[in-house]
Amino acid sequence: MPSIADDHQTDSVLAARADARAQAERTADYMPYRPASSSPFVPEGVDPATLTWAETVAPGGYTHKVVARGTRVRLDDPTGAACASVILYNALETTERLNVADTIKIPWQAYLSVGHPLLSGDGRALATITADTSGNHDTFCGTSTDATATAKYGSADAEGPAPSGRSRFLLAAAKHGLTGRDLPPSISFFQGVHVEDDGALTFTGSSGAGTYVEFVAELPLLILIANVPHPLDPAEDYLVGPLRAHAWSGAPTLPGDDQFTATPEVHRAYLNSIDYAEARGL
């Protein structure tokens, strides 16, 4: 019977080298675009020359990036089925990381939208949401584990058709020397949850195809993203869509910006972030 090996001549080192090099011009539905300016999906209004990150993350996949202070990060849900579970760290000191409790408690608001700061446990703004056409996000449910994914999908093998969010985060974290103890609760973009009067968590799902969120890095960030079904997604099948990530250089929230004094709490968070950044010489 014909096999894939029949299409490859690899019986000598030089033949194998030629076979490998012959693949170079191929593309795939899920891949990074390098240089980022070569992205086929440059966000409208963004100068491609300023892009520092451009990628389409596979369903069930993950990505991770270190970005400079001031970087604008945009996540796109082209099909309406992405679920971007996100953890942020101060890239300079990864013990400083997203604190979901502070992120909703301190702004007095559970539902993420434009102007919402993503806070660390150290009283600083790691990032601020600067655009949001989805409005369906979640700060309560984190992401799936091997146990919950196995219960729901039958298996959660990292190499299989139903990997858990935690297994994705473990791999992304490992690429930066971090381990399971470094994974705090995550937030999810593009799949929403609503808290009912009795406390019930209702899955509100997606706002449909073509939405995006943007946030600005208030400090140098390590960003981990797992693109897996939301833990409350009622579908019995593992149907998550691709996720797009772009980033471009810009400025953090600074004095003079309306956002800088939007609330008393966020104002002090920015003062703390700027204090830290300036002391580091950033």
Partner: protein
């Protein structure tokens, strides 16, 4: 693209781009142990999957290349102190040869024997080619392969189950993979010399933790472009002696 997969006890549809398995009609030979003794562990490792086990001193691990030319990417640690782990350079320098064969001693970063190759049905085995990864795939084949599953992912996933991380992943062994070094220094992965049912046997010289990635690479001939299962059999000679006398 949504496809249907067997998933534990059920069948699911999934959009995850899972790597390719072997084609139907592939000859599979699960063979048997290449050492005397009673079987204390016997696992089939699915294509693309990781595996690990502690092999006690004196026990022998037989790795069966079930489908032929399926790379078994392999790391080994002192189970009692994982700071001591396989060292390709110590292994090669001690034997003054670039390939592993019967009699090769797998040495640690302290120069001590972790395991000994006590049986080998392949002309030569590789420990210079290293493991594949999503990241190195982008260099070798292009950015379109970055989302492909790789051995580094398997190593990290399995290592995490033992409290190990990225700093514990070192240059590895690739059982059943063929990496010749030519006279002018040219080297690379070429068609393998193995076949369905070929085996290697490794006797543990101390209690060791073995971590294996059943290589998911589909961009070069290390798996004959056809990812197949591995069989991992641990035999214990002491237990065999006991049963022989009963």
């Amino acid at each position: 693209m949504t496809m249907t997969y067997a998933s534990g006890t059920r069948t699911i549809k999934s959009t995850v781009p899972v790597g390719a398995h072997y084609t139907s009609g592939t000859v599979l030979d699960f063979a048997g142990p290449l050492a005397q003794g009673s079987v204390v562990r016997d696992d089939a490792v699915a294509p693309l999957a990781p595996w690990s086990a502690v092999v006690r001193a004196g026990q022998t691990l037989t790795i069966v290349d079930v489908g032929g030319n399926q790379s078994a990417d392999f790391l080994v640690y002192n189970a009692a102190d994982t700071d001591e782990r396989y060292s390709a350079p110590d292994t090669l320098a001690a034997q003054a040869n670039a390939y592993l064969r019967e009699g090769s001693v797998l040495r640690s970063n302290r120069g001590l024997p972790l395991m000994t190759v006590t049986g080998n049905e392949i002309d030569r085995q590789d420990t210079i080619g290293g493991a594949c990864s999503k990241e190195s795939n982008t260099l070798r084949y292009g950015f379109h392969t970055e989302h492909h599953h790789g051995c580094r992912e398997n190593f990290l996933t399995e290592a995490a189950r033992h409290g190990l991380g990225v700093r514990d992943i070192v240059s590895n062994i690739n059982w059943f993979m063929n990496v010749p070094v030519e006279a002018d220094g040219t080297l690379g992965i070429v068609d393998g010399m193995s076949a369905p049912g070929k085996r290697v046997a490794l006797r543990a010289e101390m209690d060791v933790l073995v971590i294996v990635s059943n290589c998911p690479q589909m961009n070069n001939p290390c798996n004959d472009f056809n990812c197949t299962p591995l069989r991992m059999i641990v035999t214990d000679p002491v237990a065999a002696t006991d049963s022989d006398t009963e």
